[in-house]
């Protein structure tokens, strides 16, 4: 099968869906001529023209409002936020408006919109361009949240997000954009709310989110040589969360490690830990472990950044502790 990058997979999704549906328009900061801060929307202006591919001013509140309003009156807008940190500038529009209008209107208003944005550290961006904020938005009922980790998933879940009649937030770890992976030429969708078992195993379950899936798979491969069989589950969707697939794995292994970006406390993984406790406590052989960012703003200096962000050796150490190695 052909291999393309994560970035190309998203770009291809835009093209395929925009060719099919004229009511898809896209906008965001620097997405037109420049092709977006990470080049994801390159070439779309040329193909679809300035009515459908728009640069916005640096006005996140207006960007979010444009997505909300245009979706209510019949479009299927896709807005790019340059970094997920900038979602917070539009906090009211996203949290108080976008997430709630459907419910507050008693179901009258429909918001078929998608927000996409890079997240995460690793490039010395320091504390305001490197956060993984999916956990923050998981605390807001009314939003769907997805975090694809591979080019295949990025394309399939984006297709579903565009078709979905709810606001969907797609968090894309910026260290993934260059990654290559198999993506078929034929059309396919990945349903929102379905986890993927990225690697089968029997000794321990790792539930990993976004870029942490890649790191966890590396450790799983490494530990296999030492005779440890690790199952790696990628929820892909955090809201709704496919807890069944996770529970099935936990019942098999009895041991769990949850790995995620964002501060360790009250993060995306915390919810997964809580649900495993709720639904599979009696199957656990040991406490559930977590590997995540240290609870600090992400620092600039490479040596400090590395210290705060979760690394492969942290995952390896946690696996060994759980396995009493």
């Amino acid at each position: 099968m052909r291999e393309i990058t994560y970035r190309e997979a998203i770009n291809e999704t835009y093209r395929e869906e925009m060719r099919k549906d004229k009511n898809i328009i896209i906008f965001g900061e620097d997405i037109a001529q420049h092709g977006g801060a990470f080049g994801v929307t390159k070439g779309l202006l040329d193909e679809f023209g300035p009515e459908r591919v728009r640069n916005t001013p640096i006005s996140e509140t207006a960007i979010a409002g444009a997505a909300i309003g245009s979706s209510i009156v019949g479009l299927r807008p896709i807005a790019e936020f340059m970094f997920d940190d900038f979602l917070l500038v539009a906090g009211d529009q996203i949290i108080n408006q976008m997430a709630k209008l459907r419910y507050m209107s008693g179901g009258q208003l429909k918001l078929p919109l998608t927000l996409r944005m890079p997240m995460g550290g690793g490039l010395s961006q320091a504390a305001q361009h490197a956060q993984c904020l999916m956990g923050v938005f998981m605390n807001v009922p009314g939003l769907k949240i997805v975090c694809p980790s591979t080019p295949y998933d990025a394309k399939g879940i984006f297709k579903s997000a565009i078709k979905d009649n709810n606001p969907v937030l797609i968090f894309e770890h910026l260290m993934l954009y260059e990654n290559k992976g198999e993506v078929p030429e034929e059309e396919y969708y990945i349903p929102i709310g379905k986890a993927d078992i990225k690697r089968q195993g029997k000794d321990i379950t790792i539930v990993a989110i976004s870029e942490m899936v890649i790191k966890s798979l590396n450790i799983a491969k490494k530990m296999e040589e030492k005779g440890i069989s690790i199952e790696v589950i990628d929820p892909i969707s955090l809201v709704p969360l496919d807890i069944e697939t996770i529970i099935t794995s936990v019942k098999k292994t009895g041991k769990v490690l949850v790995v995620y970006g964002g501060p360790k406390s009250s993060g995306a993984g915390t919810e997964i830990v809580a649900r495993i406790n709720e639904f599979a406590f009696e199957y656990l052989d040991s406490p559930i472990y977590r590997v995540a960012e240290k609870d600090a703003p992400i620092p600039f200096a490479p040596v400090l950044e590395r210290e705060v962000l979760p690394q492969e050796e942290d995952i390896e150490r946690a696996v060994k502790e759980i396995m009493n190695l």
């Binding site: 328009i25 444009a66 209510i72 009156v73 008693g106």
Partner: protein
């Protein structure tokens, strides 16, 4: 001006006024849950603006939104039931006074966040421009909201993209309890349009005919493809920011002075003077409106509560 239009202005303003006079009583009697922010005194604005809109046009409203909703044609039975938190409410009891919406007549929602509706209206205007069905959007908000970032970001975006939206700022002189000269430093809120290179006009928000005529021109320009306009309506709310407001920030004399400019009395005088309707015909309109409101109250009272089992409905599509 034609008789039908003048009568319709009077009917709408009376409907708003009497609806709110009734709900103030119901609220005081403890019949309505939550909070109440009423529009009494400002009726000419919503009425004069919305008479220039069709059912297909859109509005966004505010926490003080009953007037906008009634003027845009919301069903007052369902509005009343919403205030009661009933299953038959326009939002099935999920929104209440501050979040009334009625998609069937283009009301994209009253809004509990000051300035929250302005970006949404701007987005709706983007959709209208793209779909080319001749619809326009009106965003109602107050003087306080003109200090929010959402106002400035929205006007700038609408200006760049030439969006079909009228921003109607109801300047009632107080941002909640904070007087105008304490919360902004321009002579007129309309002046703020200059920063975005969009036209602005000032209307007498206590005179429905002035509002109607000026918006008529603006709306027709926008329907013909002109970009956004900022309208400042100079108006006044007779009651507090919320029901129960001790109103320490203004004098009774000031309130009474504004009441002398009452938009309903002013229109009634004109209508009688010009022999368009007689006093008894006006009394008759009031009777009909009061009956309609009483029916709405009965409907609200007798409607069933939402079912507990339905609390999770419509969180998602």
């Amino acid at each position: 001006m034609e008789i039908k239009l003048l009568t319709s202005m009077l009917e709408t303003m009376l409907k708003i006024r009497m609806f709110e006079e009734n709900i103030v009583k119901l609220f005081k009697a403890g019949e309505l849950p939550g909070w109440l922010h009423v529009y009494i005194g400002e009726e000419a604005v919503a009425t004069g603006v919305c008479l220039n809109l069709t059912i297909k046009d859109y509005i966004t409203s505010t926490h003080r939104g009953h007037g906008h909703c009634i003027a845009k044609g919301a069903n007052i039975k369902n509005m009343m039931a919403e205030l009661y938190g009933k299953k038959t409410g326009c939002c099935k009891g999920r929104g209440g006074s501050m979040h009334i919406s009625d998609a069937s007549v283009g009301i994209l929602g009253a809004n509990g966040i000051v300035g929250g509706g302005i970006p949404i209206a701007t987005g709706a205007a983007l959709g209208c421009q793209y779909l080319k069905e001749g619809r326009i959007v009106v965003s109602f908000f107050g003087d306080g909201a003109s200090d929010e970032g959402s106002f400035h970001e929205s006007l700038n975006l609408a200006s760049i993209w030439k969006l079909p939206v009228i921003y109607v700022c109801e300047n009632n002189l107080y941002a909640e309890t904070n007087p105008l000269n304490m919360h902004l430093n321009v002579e007129n809120i309309a002046d703020r349009a200059k920063a975005y290179n969009i036209p602005s006009i000032i209307v007498d928000g206590m005179d429905v005919i002035d509002v109607y005529n000026k918006i008529n021109k603006v709306a027709s320009d926008i329907r013909n493809g002109d970009g956004p306009v900022l309208v400042e309506a100079k108006t006044y709310r007779y009651r507090g920011h919320y029901e129960g407001d001790p109103e320490v920030y203004r004098t009774k004399e000031e309130v009474n002075e504004w009441k002398m400019k009452d938009p309903i009395l002013k229109l009634e005088e004109k209508i009688i003077k010009e022999r368009i309707l007689t006093l008894s015909e006006i009394e008759n309109i009031k009777k009909v409106v009061q009956n309609e409101i009483e029916e709405a109250i009965e409907f609200g009272r007798k409607s069933p509560e939402p079912l507990k089992e339905e609390a999770m409905d419509n969180v998602y599509y």
